[in-house]
């Protein structure tokens, strides 16, 4: 079944830890995105990719990095987590304009 997956769903970690949020899709989409979503706020684009070995920063300044070595995989890494990184992180993929979202990772940095 074609889908988009994110792991972990919930993560609580201490300040200074390095973390990687995983995102995988089985739809063969070239376009993939990472958004940050806080309660009552719009989705903010933090990274996107239009294909393998192509990554760009989004509109929201972020201390995270991404990689796109395989079409189906688009992990996001925080080298040193801080409390200000506490948020919901949503991954999406798209073939045209319709974006398909994963269930999200709720990150809490203590």
């Amino acid at each position: 079944e074609a889908d988009i997956y994110q792991t972990p769903r919930y993560l609580v970690i201490g300040t200074g830890k390095k973390i990687t949020l995983e995102c995988s899709q089985t739809m063969g989409h070239d376009k993939m995105y990472w958004y940050q979503q806080d309660p009552g706020m719009e989705l903010h684009l933090i990274h996107y990719s239009y294909g393998v070995n192509s990554t760009e920063k989004g509109d929201l300044s972020s201390e995270s990095t991404v990689s796109r070595i395989r079409t189906e995989h688009f992990p996001l890494t925080l080298e040193s987590a801080r409390p200000s990184h506490t948020s919901q992180y949503l991954c999406a993929s798209a073939a045209g304009d319709e974006q398909f979202f994963g269930p999200g990772t709720r990150l809490t940095v203590l």
Binding site: E42, L43, L45, Y48, G58, D59, E98, Q99, F100, P103
Partner: protein, 110 residues
């Protein structure tokens, strides 16, 4: 000024009511308009997609775009408790990324 704005609500209606959700946007270059529905602890899913001005109907849902006033609406007829969710409007130009509004929280009371 944010590019896409909507009243965050919450909006509470009785089952069977007609619901009207609204957005305004500021970028006159926007040509594509979308409504996403997001259930609690889930990623958004595309509900309606329209190009330029006009109406589009899909079952109980009608999307309406008025480019002259930069106004986007989503109407839900015969609302059901299962329609309880956050509704995000989104817009894009022909070449740029999707811009999301902050979402309106809707509760349909049985």
């Amino acid at each position: 000024q944010k590019e896409v704005e909507q009243d965050p609500g919450p909006l509470s209606v009785p089952e069977g009511a007609i619901v009207s959700l609204n957005c305004t946007y500021s970028n006159s270059a926007f040509q594509y308009f979308m409504w996403y529905r997001q259930y609690s602890r889930k990623g958004p899913e595309l509900l309606m997609y329209t190009y330029s001005s006009g109406n589009k109907e899909d079952g109980r849902f009608t999307a309406q775009v008025d480019k002259s006033s930069k106004y986007i609406s989503l109407f839900i007829r015969d609302s059901q408790p299962s329609d309880s969710a956050t509704y995000l409007c989104a817009s894009k130009t022909s070449y740029d990324k999707v811009i999301f509004g902050p979402g309106t929280s809707l509760s349909v009371i049985p």
